[in-house]
């Protein structure tokens, strides 16, 4: 199991488009992907789960990957949390 904390910068927050792209990416990895915001957690392979975390710009999100290809998942998905998307 690997974990790291990232700061989200996409100005509109991590909602419609970013969360969709994130989930699509997460689904390409066999490992379990979980996101934590404070006390709340969500399945990284569910965009509804991600939305209910209510991630806004500036939020610190802990990303956890557990299982096969966890290192690569952590690196690639972490990058997705810290970039700006075209809305």
């Amino acid at each position: 199991m690997v974990t790291q904390t990232f700061t989200v910068i996409h100005p509109q927050g991590f909602h419609a488009r970013p969360s969709k792209l994130f989930v699509e990416k997460a689904n390409t990895f066999p490992c379990k992907v979980t996101l934590f915001k404070g006390e709340k957690k969500a399945n990284g392979k569910s965009s509804l789960g991600l939305l209910t975390l209510g991630i806004a710009a500036g939020d610190e999100i802990r990303l956890e990957a557990d299982g096969e290809q966890e290192e690569q998942a952590l690196q690639e998905l972490g990058q997705m949390l810290t970039k700006i998307y075209e809305e």
Binding site: T7, I9, P11, Q12, G13, H15, A16, R17, K20, V23, N43, K45, S46, S47, L48, G49, L51, T52, G54, A56, A57, G58, E60, T82, K83, I84
Partner: protein
């Protein structure tokens, strides 16, 4: 008796037509025990597939009608119908509790909808509507009903509904629908966003009052003011028919200025730019055909968080804006914080007079690390467009030199590391302190441009806090004293071959634009919605003529005298 309702003006326009009431079919599925959960699960899967086929058809029509961006919402809907938190959880519930698919889906969706609706974010609450939309469709399939169709409409109509789902809105027949009114919703609802791109008049969030409107009621929808008049009088009908014609004529005329150059009647080219406070404002800037961005306030990057934004974060934001503006000038102002704008993680001491205290460049020169991080991000971003860096609150030449020294150091460091920095990068200052305006000829030699920040310049010149109501009367942008300062600044810039701009509210004021033009201002930066009216106004003005008129205004004794003079001139030219 006519009745007046008010709501949020979600998409501007005026419409007059009969109401058509769209009834929401909100049935709560009954719980049933099923004997064969495996078959029930299969029933759910088939209904989901049928719903997907429907949505895919709507997606294709939307793609044709409104383009890929608007169609994306339906891609998102398709995507949600694969979501494990929705579908897998429902399948589990059918399996574990032996209940019917409709009920299980309704239960699972309800708890997701509830979670989304409780969020402290408008956009997320709107997502609850998406979940409702798609699950409603699947439940209709399971129950063998047709999902509500808007195809019955056959005459000019204003739609009245509790709420419109994205799929409702996308399927509106624009041949007949003239506008819509919803009881709930906000400016950021999907239906509101779609209405704006369809250029359909819409008022949302009227509250339950709109539920009294019946199919066939005559309705005036004034979405420029957020008003709905039900069963209007003949007089109201006449009045609004005239207003509607006037509004439509104005809109067509303004739209014709989107792609035109900003040129005066005597052929002088100026720049009409926009102020932005974040990336969200870009769309409006582009839609209104602004010649550039005259003020990008970077404070949003620093506010509402627990630590400073990194160089990387800032770089990606600046790069994004520069790329979006596609070669048009973008003036980015370095951090203007301190005084009344606080950052919790910066822990600044309380000051007696925040507006006269350590804010903006004063703070940046004191907290050099903070300043250097922003400058590095800006320098790196300079390769992606036409960047101009602007230092706020410069009072004396020494501050400008210090800021430029630090900028030059960071530039040298980057270049040593092999990072490219643009050669055409401009560096300028905001003129908002009277001391800087008076010494503008000295400062002009060491900058590429000035941008006059009138909001602060006026309050510092008049020594009057514009938020304080008892002295607010001294906030007089058209006062000859202010015009004289503005003239000093513009003349100093022009004498040294530099450009002068303005990024305060005054730059978009139709009674100030003629004078500013006459004084020789080159760049006017305003809110995006003012750009087209300003372009239309400027096309009617002769700079040569207004140079003489502005000179006359400068010699007057009060703001009122100046305003009367300008308005009279504009009227006589019209």
């Amino acid at each position: 008796m006519s009745q007046l309702l008010t709501g949020v003006p979600a998409s501007p326009g005026i419409a007059i037509a009969k109401a058509y009431r769209l009834e929401a079919e909100e049935s709560i599925p009954q719980q049933r025990k099923v004997d064969d959960p495996a078959a029930e699960k299969q029933r759910l899967r088939s209904a989901v597939d049928a719903a997907k086929a429907d949505i895919d058809r709507i997606r294709e029509t939307t793609l044709e009608r409104l383009g890929p961006q608007k169609a994306e919402i339906f891609e998102a809907h398709l995507f949600l119908l694969d979501d494990p938190d929705l579908i897998d959880t429902t399948l589990d519930q059918i399996e574990n509790e032996g209940v019917n698919a409709e009920y299980a889906l309704y239960e699972v969706a309800s708890s997701i909808i509830e979670a989304l609706q409780s969020m402290d974010n408008e956009m997320l609450r709107e997502r609850a509507a998406d979940v409702k939309d798609i699950t409603g469709r699947v439940i209709s399939k399971l129950e063998g009903r047709e999902h509500s169709a808007l195809s019955e409409l056959s005459a000019e109509t204003i739609l009245i509904a509790k709420d419109l789902t994205p799929s409702d809105t996308a399927q509106l027949n624009l041949e007949f629908v003239r506008g819509f009114v919803t009881e709930i919703g906000s400016r950021t609802s999907h239906s509101a966003i779609m209405a704006r791109s369809l250029e359909l008049a819409a008022v949302v969030g009227t509250g339950a009052d709109a539920s009294a409107i019946r199919t066939g009621d005559m309705v005036i929808l004034d979405a420029t003011a957020g008003q709905v008049i039900v069963n209007p009088s003949d007089e109201q009908l006449r009045e609004y028919s005239a207003r509607k014609a006037e509004y439509e004529e104005y809109k067509t005329r303004m739209r014709s200025y989107v792609d035109r150059p900003s040129v005066t009647a005597d052929g002088v080219q100026v720049e009409l730019a926009s102020n932005i406070g974040g990336i969200d404002d870009l769309e409006k800037v582009l839609a209104n055909g602004a010649d550039g961005i005259g003020l990008f306030r970077t404070e949003f990057l620093y506010m509402g968080r627990s630590s400073f934004p990194s160089e990387e974060e800032q770089y990606s934001v600046y790069k994004h804006v520069l790329e979006k503006m596609n070669g048009k000038r973008v003036v980015i102002r370095t951090l203007d914080i301190g005084g009344d704008k606080e950052l919790p993680y910066l822990q600044l001491p309380k000051e007696m007079n925040p507006f006269l205290g350590q804010r903006a460049i004063r703070l940046c020169l004191d907290k050099e690390d903070l300043f250097r991080t922003q400058l590095r991000a800006l320098l790196r971003a300079s390769m992606h467009g036409k960047l101009a860096i602007m230092f706020p609150m410069i009072a004396v030449l020494g501050e400008l030199r210090e800021a430029k020294r630090i900028l030059a150091e960071e530039r040298a460091k980057l270049e040593q590391e092999g990072t490219k920095v643009s050669d055409s990068l401009e560096v300028g200052i905001m003129i908002e302190i009277p001391a800087a305006a008076i010494a503008a000829d000295v400062l002009a030699k060491e900058v590429d441009f000035f941008s006059i920040g009138t909001n602060d310049l006026i309050q510092y010149t008049m020594a009057a806090d514009r938020m304080n109501e008892s002295v607010a009367y001294l906030y007089q942008p058209h006062h000859p004293s202010i015009l004289r300062l503005v003239q000093l600044v513009i003349q100093a810039a022009n004498r040294h071959g530099k450009w002068a701009g303005m990024c305060g509210e005054m730059a978009g004021d139709s009674a100030a634009i003629p004078l500013l033009l006459g004084l020789g201002l080159y760049e006017f930066s305003m809110s995006a919605s003012s750009v087209l009216p300003a372009r239309e106004l400027i096309s009617r003005l002769s700079r040569e003529e207004w140079a003489g008129l502005a000179e006359q205004a400068i010699g007057m004794s009060s703001q009122q005298e100046v305003l009367d003079f300008v308005n009279q001139q504009l009227r006589s030219e019209a």
